[in-house]
């Protein structure tokens, strides 16, 4: 079992309640089965042979994000997401994954390829790989990035194929499917020396999960997060008077928390832009609850993910925000799908377009 690698952490978490109130799903359902300690206790029991996988256990392991917020709050930073991911892979292999998970298949041949081709210059050795937009099936986010590039006189190639990075499949425990796409992505991006990804899901996959699956880009290939790249153009420039006095609620993705990059570049970019009041979630970005797409919750348990997203919109409105800005197209897209238009939800490049 993959969870056997995490015995120490499961042992530590199984009776510890200290991160209980911070989980996004717990915050909504407020019960014991959805807290970190009970998930750890169940996994510990399975690991010790006291219990076995079953559909109820499987359901609980999918009725959560990757719970990276618990890792953030834990003084030891126990790798909660890692053991949830390992458990899901074990559950999927054991055949207990919920139907929503087994039925999930990565969308291929997205219809919006032609809409973005016209923006891109094919001979650049820098390529934009919009893996998060692809995961969200959201062309607008990619278009916004390309427009920002054009405005800044930056010419980049666009990925030859709109391939999934495999991140959502990976989160759901479907490692073989994730690996299949990982290989395709690496092959597809062959020949480019710099890859810009449009969000933290892709960044996490390309920089951390692909190597852990033994799939590597050729040596010397540089992978950048879009915000890092944008920082080069926007730093020290005074922009966006049109948003004077507006309140911007900044929401971070769970996937950003999982990357080594974190929220640093995002914050740095915001620091460069003037003319608005920034509101961070009440616990600060590092410790904040996410939008409900973390861990592919929106696929495994769509109703629960919607409730989490609705709560984030309520949080933003209660904080007085006019706009909510997400660091991931995937989060923005999901939030927009549950929003009733109470406030405008944008990705950062979309916001830069305003």
């Amino acid at each position: 079992m993959r969870i056997s690698q995490y015995e120490t952490y499961l042992k530590g978490c199984r009776f510890c309640t200290m991160c209980t109130p911070f989980g996004e799903v717990w915050e909504i359902v407020k019960d014991e089965p959805h807290c970190t300690r009970i998930r750890a206790l169940i996994l510990w029991q399975i690991l010790r042979g006291y219990a076995e996988w079953n559909e109820d256990v499987a359901r609980l392991l999918y009725e959560t994000t990757l719970d990276s917020v618990s890792q953030a709050w834990c003084i030891n930073h126990y790798p909660v997401p890692e053991y949830i991911l390992a458990a899901r892979a074990d559950i999927f292999e054991a055949g207990f994954a919920p139907e929503t998970v087994s039925d999930y298949s990565v969308k291929e041949n997205l219809s919006w390829a032609h809409r973005i081709k016209s923006f891109a210059k094919d001979d650049s050795d820098t390529v934009l790989y919009p893996g998060d937009s692809i995961a969200a099936n959201d062309v607008a986010s990619t278009e916004a990035i390309l427009k920002v590039f054009l405005q800044n006189d930056q010419h980049v190639s666009i990925t030859p194929e709109l391939l999934s990075c495999g991140g959502l499949a990976y989160c759901l425990g479907k490692h073989e499917q994730a690996k299949h796409f990982a290989k395709k992505v690496v092959h597809c991006l062959e020949g480019y020396s710099k890859i810009i990804v449009d969000g933290p899901l892709s960044y996490w996959m390309l920089t951390q999960i692909y190597p852990s699956m033994g799939i590597e880009f050729p040596e010397g290939v540089e992978i950048s997060m879009i915000y890092d790249y944008l920082n080069e153009f926007y730093c020290n420039r005074d922009i966006h008077p049109t948003l004077d006095g507006r309140y911007i609620y900044l929401l971070g993705s769970e996937f950003s928390r999982l990357t080594a990059v974190g929220y640093g570049p995002l914050k740095k970019l915001f620091d460069c832009v003037n003319g608005f009041a920034l509101i961070e979630p009440k616990d600060g970005l590092e410790y904040a609850s996410g939008s409900g797409v973390g861990g592919a919750l929106h696929i495994a348990c769509p109703a629960l993910a919607r409730r989490v997203s609705q709560q984030r919109i309520v949080d933003a409105i209660q904080s007085g925000a006019d706009y909510m800005i997400c660091d991931s197209p995937l989060d923005a897209s999901h939030l927009r799908s549950v929003s009733k238009g109470e406030l405008q939800i944008l990705t950062l490049p979309e916001w830069l377009q305003l």
């Binding site: 009776f15 309640t17 200290m18 991160c19 089965p33 169940i42 006291y50 709050w73």
Partner: protein
């Protein structure tokens, strides 16, 4: 009860709280059978089962709590209130099954009253979230329990809990102004709007500390404080425990009003302080804190420090004190917290100043002698101080307990029995702030003696079928 009865009951519960607010699979119920009490954790750790509720409900209004209780009366089913699950006494263990009422969905702040400095909130609100909301308004509920991240407001009150600054601000029972309670017959009552009066006996305190035996707390009004202008900590090292205790006693009797005095005995100083704070010192380590207006803090500190010097206290400076404050919760996170395979228990008790040191030594010697074959360690710190008494937070640890669960349980209970007997013989009580729960239920009658009949009469009057949290507080099973 037969399965079809439970199917019927679940349907009826569903009509009260909504079917989405009912948990009934074994996996879902598992968390409701275990808190921080060593026994259920040991059982689960060794692959055994713990008593689980037959069903868990998550009401969202007090009226729903009342309706669930009324239904439980119809079917004569036990009812167990559940907050954050951070109790250490097994108070939430559903010994006879029944309905566990998870109160965490009753989580609204009803009013922050700035004029009187009170907050009224539903009992299921998470302690950390409540504190965050109060801080935003410029206030604090200075009940900084180790369990603040997971405990609920109701959970603070049910066992008469305390936080690390209780020496100045009091325990939960000192902060509470009034309560809303669902009685065992389902009636919803309110205590008087103020706790201090000459209008008959105080009904409020019947429910505070009753751990759900007399009613379910659904709402509370608590005193709150403005954030202090200044809060300072200082560490001292005393040559021995006696001098530390004497310094603490004099500071309290001189009414110098420290927010915290935490005095560690010599073994704790050598082990816990070294392990958690990284301070390698010999003697008895004390952290002391003062807060409030700067000028007043200056005066209080000056006099308190003089008392410490008079008792041989060596000033270690502010840094170790601040270090303790910053890391005050680390003691309860793994790996700082006590965990398996060890056997451990916290026997916190209190006694007046003329008795407390004797109590400590009597218990230490008796436990270490009686269980020397198990290499038992007895360590303690004194962390809640009153103007007449101090609390000793004493713990036993056995690093290699018996593997057989029955043998382990027997040994565990024997140690507890000895510790409690000595506490009572030496003028103490069975517990100071963790509560009774299942762990100490068998000792309650002995502690109260013939006065227990008062509690028994209350129980029989309020809950004649013993449906509310049965098997706890010295009361018998449901019937």
């Amino acid at each position: 009860m037969r399965t079809h009865h439970w199917d019927q009951i679940k349907l009826e519960l569903g009509s009260i709280v909504g079917s989405e607010n009912i948990l009934s699979t074994e996996t879902e119920r598992l968390g409701y059978g275990v808190d921080y009490f060593w026994v259920p954790r040991m059982l689960l750790d060794r692959g055994m089962t713990v008593p689980l509720p037959d069903v868990v409900v998550k009401p969202t209004t007090v009226e729903q709590v009342s309706a669930v209780v009324k239904l439980a009366n119809v079917y004569r089913i036990p009812v167990i209130p559940y907050g954050g699950g951070s109790g250490s006494q097994g108070g939430i263990m559903p010994l006879y099954g029944g309905i566990t009422i998870d109160l965490k969905s009753l989580n609204q702040i009803i009013e922050i009253n700035e004029t009187s400095q009170t907050v009224t909130a539903q009992a299921g609100i998470n302690g950390y979230r409540l504190e965050q909301a109060l801080n935003k308004a410029g206030f604090t509920l200075p009940h900084y329990a180790a369990s603040v991240h997971s405990a609920t407001l109701g959970g603070y009150l049910a066992p008469r809990g305390s936080g690390v600054l209780s020496t100045k601000y009091g325990k939960a029972e000192d902060m509470v102004i009034s309560l809303e309670v669902v009685l065992p017959n389902g009636d919803i009552i309110r205590t008087l709007p103020v706790p201090n009066h000459a209008s008959g006996p105080g009904i409020l305190q019947i429910f505070v500390g009753a751990e759900g035996s007399f009613g379910i707390i659904t709402e509370a009004t608590m005193r709150i404080e403005r954030m202090p202008e200044e809060r300072r900590f200082q560490a001292f090292l005393f040559p021995d425990l006696h001098n530390g205790l004497e310094a603490g006693r004099r500071i309290m009797l001189d009414r110098l009003n420290p927010c915290v005095i935490r005095l560690y005995d010599e073994p704790s100083t050598r082990t816990r302080i070294k392990r958690i704070l990284g301070l390698d010192v010999q003697g008895s380590y004390m952290v002391m804190g003062f807060d409030g207006w700067r000028e007043i803090v200056d005066c209080q500190e000056k006099r308190a420090f003089e008392i410490c010097y008079e008792h041989g206290g060596e000033e270690l400076g502010r840094e170790p004190g601040n270090l303790w404050w910053e890391h005050r919760y680390d003691f309860y996170f793994p790996p700082g917290t006590l965990d398996f395979p060890w056997m451990f228990g916290t026997m916190d008790t209190m006694a007046t100043y003329d008795k407390i040191e004797n109590l400590y030594w009597k218990k230490k010697v008796a436990i270490e002698q009686a269980y020397s074959e198990w290499n038992i360690q007895y360590i303690a710190h004194f962390s809640h101080w009153y103007p007449y008494a101090a609390m000793v937070y004493d713990r036993f640890i056995i690093e290699e307990p018996p593997q057989d669960p029955q043998q382990a349980l027997r040994l565990h209970n024997e140690i507890w029995d000895l510790g409690v007997r000595i506490s009572l013989e030496c003028g103490g009580v069975i517990n100071e702030h963790h509560g009774v729960g299942l762990k100490l239920a068998r000792h309650v009658r002995r502690q109260y003696g013939s006065a227990f009949q008062i509690l028994e009469a209350l129980k029989n009057g309020l809950d004649p079928h013993h449906l509310f949290n049965p098997g706890k507080m010295g009361f018998g099973p449901p019937g």
